[in-house]
């Protein structure tokens, strides 16, 4: 009889329009390091949010048994009280507070509301020693690197008497050496009897450290493997092996000469300029061609696109952009638009739309001169006609063009964003996650629009985390990993396995390089 610390049975979680999890089962043995793998959007993080009470009891179906009892968590406080602590991919530390203050945030060492700072520092030092971090507890978080911040998060978890530690992609933004240290630490905790669940994309790490792996795909748990059975091949097949229906409209590509080219593009992080996010990227798009950029989260795809589009992201940007074979000035968004570029953002609510204004005003905002006189007076009737035309063309479902975009569904919002860029009449469109968070029917409509644009002779660059989507709509696919192009393949020859392998190979190579350097 195994000692099972956690069992999640038949977990089903639905969001409006999407079934995020369907009958997921997970069994975790006490003292194990249990890995969860799956593609972006497979439902891993949703499952962990169900477990930690972020989605409270009642908002999902199924049971959670923890330490032999059924649990009904109503919030993260409930799960933390039982010793379940989750460390998110995006670290939840307050940058301008000290290490010690962050460690005891919400868990202050206080009596009657008065903080005992000696106690805080003493305990902080003790816990920092446990995680092997040699920093003064009074150092501000902003002054230490991401690797150390990750360790502070773990120390914070230890301060809450953690029994089950959940780490969501803990090494995604860490260097090889920091990742190694973190994995060693997890092994040490295991020796002390702690249980961990680790979500990771990095199969080599998983192979090295995990006792069991559960693979999740399309919101279902596919299988759980024991250490002895784990091979990369088996994980990859299990992760991507979905049946493909005909979800993509057909197109006969008519590909012309090169219309868009980026040469030797390098970008640094705007806040941490020592971090190079994009490294010497070369790519090109031909007339009438749909080109995909595949890659894992954090590979630098959005950063690449936004840095090309008027340097809207990044610092120390070097490299050249060519449109129609001529060097183009894309040093500001206005100039990039004038040169014939368009970028439909990944996050339409934050970067794409004015949510408090209606469809008409959102559609014309990137090309107001197109509906106004040279003196800058808007022709209301011309604008109304444009808005109505695009509403029909992209099939936006709304009561009229005077509906406020904040009240539209995700798919229709995306169509407004597309309309805005279509009206600016670009030669090259960069579409960043054009179908994220929208339902299957709307996705098909978006693909149809993309095909039509390609047929009109535009060049299209699609960034997507959904590999089947890239395989379904692209003519050619680049694979981006850690800011480098690590593969290029014609869509006809490509497969999800091939893309995954290109990523894995580059990770291994990177590791060897770093190993040799240190």
């Amino acid at each position: 009889m195994d000692d099972i610390i956690l069992e999640m049975r038949d977990i089903t979680k639905t969001f409006p329009g999407v079934k995020a999890l369907e009958n997921v089962n997970l069994k975790v043995k006490r003292g194990d390091i249990h890995a969860i793998c799956g593609e972006n959007g497979a439902g891993k993080s949703t499952l962990m949010k169900v477990l930690s009470g972020v989605y409270p009891f009642g908002s999902y179906e199924g049971d959670i048994r923890y330490e032999g009892e059924e649990c009904r968590f109503n919030g993260i406080h409930d799960s933390e009280r039982r010793g379940i602590v989750i460390i998110h991919q995006e670290l939840a530390l307050v940058p301008m507070l000290s290490i010690a203050e962050n460690m005891f945030l919400g868990n202050e060492q206080a009596t009657g509301g008065i903080i005992d700072w000696n106690q805080v520092r003493r305990r902080a030092r003790e816990l920092l020693r446990k995680v092997g971090l040699r920093e003064d507890p009074d150092t501000l978080i902003t002054n230490i690197g991401t690797g150390k911040q990750q360790l502070v998060e773990i120390a914070k978890a230890l301060a809450k008497d953690v029994k089950l530690l959940i780490l969501d992609e803990p090494t995604a933004s860490l260097s090889e050496r920091d990742s190694q240290a973190l994995l060693d630490l997890l092994r040490e905790f295991k020796a002390q009897g702690m249980t961990s669940i680790m979500i990771s994309h990095k199969l080599n790490e998983i192979k090295r450290i995990a006792d069991k792996i559960t693979v999740i795909r399309d919101g279902r748990s596919i299988e759980t493997m024991d250490k002895a059975d784990i091979t990369e091949d088996r994980i990859v097949t299990s992760m991507v092996g979905r049946t493909l229906e005909n979800r993509y409209p057909h197109r006969d590509p008519k590909i012309g000469e090169t219309i868009f080219e980026v040469r030797n593009w390098s970008v640094h992080h705007p806040i941490h300029p020592e971090r190079q996010v994009i490294r010497n990227v070369d790519l090109h798009v031909k007339k009438g061609e749909v080109v995909g950029i595949a890659g894992l989260m954090g590979a630098g795809r959005t950063e690449f696109a936004m840095s090309v589009f008027g340097r809207a992201w990044g610092a120390n940007i070097t490299g050249e952009v060519f449109l129609h074979g001529r060097k183009a000035d894309t040093s500001s968004v206005g100039k990039a638009v004038a040169a014939g570029l368009a970028y439909a953002t990944e996050d339409r609510k934050v970067y794409g739309l004015n949510l408090i204004d209606h469809i008409k005003h959102n559609v014309t905002i990137a090309n107001l001169p197109g509906v106004s006189s040279s003196a800058g007076v808007i022709d209301d009737m011309a604008e109304l006609k444009v808005a109505n035309d695009y509403r029909k063309k992209t099939n936006i479902r709304s009561s009229s063009v005077y509906q406020v975009t904040g009240n539209l569904s995700g798919g229709n919002q995306q169509k407004v964003v597309l309309s805005k860029w279509l009206f600016s009449n670009p030669d090259v469109l960069i579409l960043d996650e054009p179908t994220r968070g929208i339902d299957v029917g709307a996705k098909y409509e978006i693909y149809t629009i993309i095909n039509k644009l390609a047929d009109e002779g535009k060049g299209i660059l699609v960034i997507s985390s959904e590999m089947p989507e890239l395989l379904g709509i692209c003519d050619r696919i680049y694979v981006l990993n850690e800011g480098r192009i690590v593969g290029e393949m014609a869509a006809a020859d490509a497969s999800q396995e091939k893309i995954m392998r290109a990523i894995m190979r580059s990770l291994d190579r990177e590791e060897k390089l770093e190993g040799a350097a240190s």
Partner: protein, 404 residues
Amino acid sequence: MSTETAPATVSASKATARDAIKENLREYGLVLALIAIMIFFQFTTNGVLFKPVNLTNLILQNSYIIVMALGMLLVIVAGHIDLSVGSVAGFIGAVAAVLMVDYGFHPFLAGLVCIGVGAVIGGAQGYFIAYMKIPSFIVTLAGMLVFKGLALWLLGGRSVGPFQAEFQMLSAGFIPDPIGPWTIAGVKLHATTLVIAILIVAAMLWSALKSRASRESHGYDAEPYGFFVVKNLVMAGIVLFLLYMLASYRGLPNVLIVMGVLIALFVFVTKRMTFGRRIYAMGGNVKAAALSGINTERLTFYIFAIMGALAALAGLIFAARLNMATPKAGQGFELDVIAAVFIGGASALGGIGQVTGAVIGAFIMGVMNNGMSIMGINIDWQQVIKGLVLLGAVAFDLYNKKKA
């Protein structure tokens, strides 16, 4: 399965009067609130409020607040705030006094210099806000202290005046009446004012008819005909009535002409020009605006420069009205201006607000000041009541939005 919550297309159906009213409820609501407040004070002041001399006074008293409210509307729609406008107005009044009284500048030249200085002051503050990314609250709070101090220094604690007669005409003068006066039914009327009133009403009706015809010729629904007629007749009636009242006193004040031109200009810029549209886009979502190719920094810079120029004009009007520059001029104006814009329905988060709303908001504040003063309510209670009205107006607005 589907996440589509938007109702299916209902394009061709005719709009009803109720829809038309609902769509513009906010604006009509404000006008109705202003009328209700005026009628209320008409009773409590025993008919003083609507006396021609008092209506004229109302306009003169509130002209500088309205001028600044126009610029403040742009600032607030852009998602910023400007706390320095009162101090800048006071400082410019002092500059004007020094130029005209101490150095004998011609009023016209001095006025131009003053408005230029105001634009530079606004532009300087705009530079720190737009390019150095310092929050506007902090930059203009600093500006408020700086220019309050500079006004004191410039005047050396004294009050400087009086101004030349031409300059006083800006706030105390009325347009001449070369064709009148006419006496109708025993009332002596300012004829030019009446002619202008009829021309304005004709222009209003003509442009309303023209835009309606243009909509229909493009195949879009217009408001129902009955509603259209009633709305325009009521508005024409209000304009005619107010101008008739002014004509029965001394005619149109010069400052009302300045205000009228500026209001029309700002309505046009915000409703019809790309410049105005970009301000709304920026206030609604600055990141999306920047990613749509709008130069948000330059736009912010221009908005504050315009605000500075308008604050300067308001300073001139106020100085001309008092017929001297005092070290205390302009103090607290910024609060009245900001309150007017918020009562007028602008959102503190940016992206929402109308020029007409800000103007009506300023008149609501002005009528309350005027009415309560006539009633003899003490200044302490006036403040309390105005504060509660501001809070109530915004709370009512938010409540309505949530319900919608």
